[in-house]
């Protein structure tokens, strides 16, 4: 267990969990809870950020990109080496990767960057041309740019204060790109705040590109037991159904999600 503070809100929590690491596919998540802690009671869901390996390349665990949002995330932020975290996973359905000549466009808002580290690795391994559209509040909150750079990912950045990249929302450069997307098309992957997800899914649809969107719901169990995490999903002309995002997601076809 290590806990690298990236800022006063973000940290990368490394967990010794070789089995979880070995089985995780990009976009899957884990349910975490500091061991022995009874308050908060419930686990919290986190995307797997990196698959950790030792010097010989053997998988040793996973890391989590943790953003302080409330009690559990603060507790995780404060953890020290040696503290034990109970980690359940990997859970949920992963992203479906695409391969060249189709392009992969990853759209991340804030902590929504988390699932894209593993996805970028997997896309790089298959040689898929990949772009990361990455928006944050300030340039200080743009993390791991080198990591994506090393994988050959094209970076398109946006900050709300204009400190780095485009000023404003990341959906603006995305729309620009969508306007001139080539004949081979792009698969748009998105993770971030709900309004961003909605905007991305609708933009992708408008420009006739498929999208895969990772949604965030309050999750009680992560295993399909509690029905707390539902999202309205519509297949073709059927009526919308409330579907559990922990087992039928968190990644959904952006065209099938119903935004209300």
């Amino acid at each position: 267990m290590a806990n690298l503070r990236l800022s006063r809100e973000y940290s990368v929590l490394s967990l010794a969990a070789p089995e979880v690491g070995a089985r995780t596919r990009p976009g899957q998540f884990v349910m975490l809870k500091p061991a022995g802690v009874t308050d908060p009671l419930l686990r919290r869901p986190f995307s797997v950020f990196e698959i950790l390996r030792d010097s010989r390349g053997a998988i040793t665990g996973v890391s989590i990109l943790n953003k302080r949002a409330g009690r559990s995330t603060k507790r995780l932020y404060d953890l020290e080496v040696g503290d034990v975290v109970s980690c359940l996973g990997p859970l949920g359905l992963p992203f479906t990767p695409v391969s060249a000549p189709r392009q992969a466009w990853m759209v991340a808002g804030g902590v929504g960057l988390a699932p894209f580290a593993t996805l970028a690795e997997s896309l790089a391994a298959s040689g898929t041309p990949t772009t990361l559209f990455y928006g944050a509040r300030t340039s200080d909150e743009l993390f791991y740019l080198d990591f994506f750079g090393r994988l050959g990912v094209t970076l398109v950045l946006a900050t709300e204060d204009g400190g780095r990249g485009v000023k404003g929302r990341v959906t603006a450069p995305l729309e620009q790109a969508l306007k001139s997307v080539g004949a081979d098309g792009a698969m748009v992957y998105a993770c971030g705040p709900e309004p961003m997800l909605e905007a991305v899914a609708k933009l992708a649809a408008r420009y006739h590109q498929p999208s895969q969107v990772s949604v965030e719901r309050v999750m009680g169990c992560g295993l399909g037991g509690c029905y707390s995490c539902v999202v309205p999903v519509k297949h073709g002309n059927e009526e919308a159904n409330l579907v559990r995002s922990c087992i039928s997601g968190p990644v959904f076809d952006g065209a099938e999600l119903v935004w209300d």
């Binding site: 009671l41 419930l42 169990c221 037991g225 029905y227 707390s228 539902v230 159904n241 409330l242």
Partner: protein, 316 residues
């Protein structure tokens, strides 16, 4: 060591039952726990037809507990019988079906469908869901309503009938008695406590339904009291629940009179709870030289302790 317990004509290999609404349809957990090792699995609450339930947000955490208002989203009894029951049977699960109804007729109808299906061990009659108006709470909060619905279902099925009682009443034991009088084979209690939490920053509800049901360790001391009250009044077996997290808690309910226990919220916290509680019960039985677990049922000795030292911490 004999961990088996009997509920009417049923014998369960152990008293640990997955609580309704906290274990999906059971199959969701097949990779985490061997369903045949549980005493029984209770399905999510089922109406005759499919239901969408309430819009999210549906749960909110509270001190040592959670409030839920799922609103009984479910696939309806027909799809359950077709899609889930065969698989549950294949896994060797003893399946209790949690039955809901908006009307007395619907309860009867759902039970009839289940009576004709293969692989149902018992009917848990949900007359206590606090989250939806038409969820039977009008039966569960009235003694005559309870008597009527239990009697009607009793006549409609050969399966064991286990009304699930609400704790949101003045005298829960009288409802256990009404159930017994109406021919119930057992009662299970408690369902959740009607509760509410406000987001003070927005002054709005934290869950879409405004009110929901409180479960988890917070309610355990009230639930244990209710089980003990019922145990003193009725002869039929009691299935106890409410905030069980470990073997100590399970044994506490059994001492208070529960023949079997259900675990709900803790299964969310730790889906591996089942093996841990079983191991803890076995350890307790060894330490206390208990040969048959059923000997613990109602073995609480209420004669007052005197002196300075209760075992405070073990109740946390």
């Amino acid at each position: 060591m004999d961990l088996s317990v009997r509920i009417g004509s049923l014998t369960l290999p152990n008293p640990l039952i997955a609580a309704s609404g906290c274990f999906g349809y059971g199959l969701e957990y097949e990779q985490v726990v061997d369903l045949s090792t549980l005493g029984a699995v209770v399905s999510k609450g089922l109406f005759l037809k499919e239901r969408q339930g309430h819009p999210p947000p549906r749960i909110v955490e509270t001190p040592a507990g959670m409030i839920n208002a799922i609103g009984l989203q479910g696939i309806g009894v027909h799809r359950f019988v077709k899609e889930k029951l065969p698989q549950l049977r294949a896994h060797g699960a003893r399946t209790f079906v949690n039955v809901c109804g908006s009307t007395l007729d619907e309860y009867v109808e759902v039970c009839k469908v289940l009576s004709q299906a293969e692989g149902v061990s018992a009917i848990e009659l949900n007359i206590s869901c606090p989250n939806i108006k038409e969820g039977g709470i009008q039966f569960g909060c009235s003694l005559t309503g309870t008597y009527e619905v239990v009697s009607a279902v009793r006549k409609a099925t050969h399966l064991p009938v286990i009304p699930k009682l609400t704790p949101n009443v003045t005298d829960v034991a009288s409802f256990a008695r009404a159930s017994e009088d109406a021919g119930a084979d057992a009662v299970s209690l408690v369902n959740t406590f009607l509760a509410m939490a406000i987001d003070v920053e927005t002054r709005r509800p934290t869950i879409s339904n405004v009110m929901g049901g409180l479960s988890g360790p917070a309610i355990r001391p009230i639930a244990v009291r209710m089980v003990w009250e019922c145990y003193q009044l009725v002869k039929i077996p009691i299935i106890g629940m409410g905030g069980i997290t470990n073997a100590r808690d399970a044994i506490e309910f059994m001492l208070a009179g529960a023949t079997a226990v259900q675990i709900g919220t803790q299964n969310f916290v730790d889906p591996f709870v089942w093996g841990k509680v079983l191991a803890g019960i076995e350890d307790y039985m060894t330490r206390h030289k208990v040969e048959r677990l059923s000997d613990l049922i109602g073995a609480f000795d209420p004669s007052p302790v005197r002196g300075d030292k209760p075992v405070v911490g073990t109740n946390l």
